[in-house]
């Protein structure tokens, strides 16, 4: 469904944009329908930039993003872009900044109506909003007509997902959508994503939290400095990480029933040689197992 082929992004920073900043380097991945792909990385790893490029909020420097085989960057004209957003929507970190505090929350739905559903009658429209709200596990009577400050972060975040569901979406870009929520409500939003996945929605789940990333995802992509360090089926990346960076990350994540010292002990076995440099000499991630890819171990980008 969604395919990224060697996508790179260079930002220009510094005085008059003289310094290039390689935010994303040669990232290739796919998000099929009904699959959650989590992009995991620290701050500055380029994970949000990838989400923004998929949503066309930032242009791609090189490489191609295709949705159903059609190049996303090349969508020209209002209609083509609108058609794209009918299928692809994003939800972001801070729910409070996505809502206008002086209007009731229903406004995020009403803004869709003018653009996408001009033909619907009031009754039909209200029914569809209620259906969307119920689908994300909220009681429409409790949330509709309220103001953003009257609802919790988890409720607002679910309303934004409901808004996306009102359209005929097939891909959801979820950029750190649970980072600002409490532990007690995070899991509800994650479970909702799991349910939507079962209904066939593809999700690009951007997070810095390894535990939450592995909980919902089918495929895990670990990013480091804009490049893919490791990518593969979540279970495999988690159980047998190959890249030293992934291993370090897994050892540093605080866990409830394992101390950091124990995690280091588990890591004792060496990671082995860099598969990129000891392999056939190709740049970019190398396949080390079924669908399991590992990028170059060195701190710098692979030599071109």
């Amino acid at each position: 469904m969604l395919t990224l082929d060697r996508v790179s992004k260079v930002y220009r920073v510094g005085t008059f944009g003289t310094q290039p900043l390689n935010a994303v380097r040669d990232v290739s991945l796919t998000v099929p329908p009904g699959v959650v792909v989590s992009l995991i990385g620290e701050s500055g790893s380029g994970k949000s930039t990838i989400g923004r490029m998929v949503l066309r909020l930032t242009p791609v420097t090189s490489g191609a993003i295709a949705f159903d085989g059609r190049d996303v960057a090349g969508l020209s004209g209002h209609r083509a872009r609108k058609g794209y957003y009918r299928h692809v929507q994003g939800v972001f970190q801070d729910p409070f900044s996505s809502f206008n505090p002086i209007f009731p929350v229903d406004r995020v739905f009403d803004m869709l109506r003018g653009a996408y559903f001009p033909g619907l009658s009031d009754t039909e429209w209200r029914a569809s909003v209620r259906r969307g709200t119920e689908r994300v596990g909220l009681d429409p009577g409790q949330v509709l007509g309220r103001y953003p400050h009257q609802l919790s972060g988890g409720q607002l975040q679910r309303l934004l997902i409901a808004r996306a569901l009102t359209l005929d979406i097939r891909l959801l870009v979820a950029d750190e959508i649970i980072s600002m929520l409490d532990a007690s409500t995070r899991i509800d939003v994650l479970n909702l994503l799991g349910d939507l996945r079962a209904e066939g929605l593809g999700i690009l789940f951007v997070t810095h939290d390894l535990a939450l990333g592995t909980y919902v995802s089918d495929t895990t992509v670990i990013l480091r400095r804009g490049a893919v360090a490791e990518m593969g089926p979540t279970r495999q990346v988690y159980a047998s990480p190959r890249h030293p960076y992934t291993r370090g990350l897994l050892a540093s994540v605080p866990r409830m029933h394992r101390t950091w010292a124990d995690a280091d002990a588990e890591l004792d076995s060496a990671a082995g040689p860099c598969p990129v440099h000891s392999g056939p000499g190709t740049a970019g991630p190398v396949e080390v197992g079924p669908d399991h890819f590992v990028g170059c171990f060195s701190d710098d980008a692979c030599p071109e």
Binding site: D182, S184, L190, A211, T214, G248, V253, P254
Partner: protein, 316 residues
Amino acid sequence: MTVEVSELRVHYRTLRGSVQALDGASLEVGDGEVMGVVGESGCGKSTLGKSLIRMDGRMRHVGGSVRLGGEELPIADDRAMQRFRYHEVSLIPQYAMSAMNPTRRIGRMIRELLESRGVRYAEVRRELERRLELVGLGADVLKRFPIELSGGMKQRVVLVLSTLRDPSLLIADEATSALDVANQRAVAEALVQFRDRGFIGSMLFITHDLALVAQLADTVTVMYAGRSAESAPTSELLRRPRHPYTRMLLSAVPEVGTTIDESRQEGIPGSPPALLDPPSGCRFKDRCPLAFEQCATRPPFIEVASGHRVACWKAE
């Protein structure tokens, strides 16, 4: 030194009335002990941290007491607290960046700070450099501007600076929450190391991250709606939680590697009560699956096992 907080009540003044952010919080931290304070947002954990060092203008001390090594802390008296601040009670804020002066080199900033506290920079210079080295920073950071350091480095500079006078109590309020996992671990381990070396007496580690508390705290206090819900040694609390809120909180946090397909976890239904007009009795009763008639009166925060205190009628 030991810290005893008993029935502390601190309210915020607002136009609509007073918000009972802390309304009967109790905890005891032993000498040299790291206590994790956890809870959802709005449970009063940050208010607790602030009350112990400096109350802002909106906060009002309504009742309860704080004792540090047997001596009562005059938390309501801003001026009298001045004697304790930094020397006895110190703080590491969440955002090191906003704790530093961006226009000063770090060495100069530290000098100004120390002198404002009546400490001569030359006297502590060697100790400062020694401690910077302990956290993996060279003395050359003193010549740099804050903007030249990474988030983790800044947080470590603040850690060294906050603890330079060997405070009896250190309050770390979400001190590692803005850092990525590798830096989070480095800072957390530095905190424990400083405690082991005796640079820090006791520590209150305030966080929303239970897994992080499991790594470094000796004891944990779980707060709910401005009150202590449960307090116990860390391993005891993780293995045998007694308060229904603690149980639900623990089961709402996925461990690394568990997936939704293998074990689906559930959140806690409902949301914490508004503290402008909190419900009477147990404040968790509206979300609690075990609630019964007796919950209409407030359960006492009592010891059910050695060092394990719970505020719940159903905890045995």
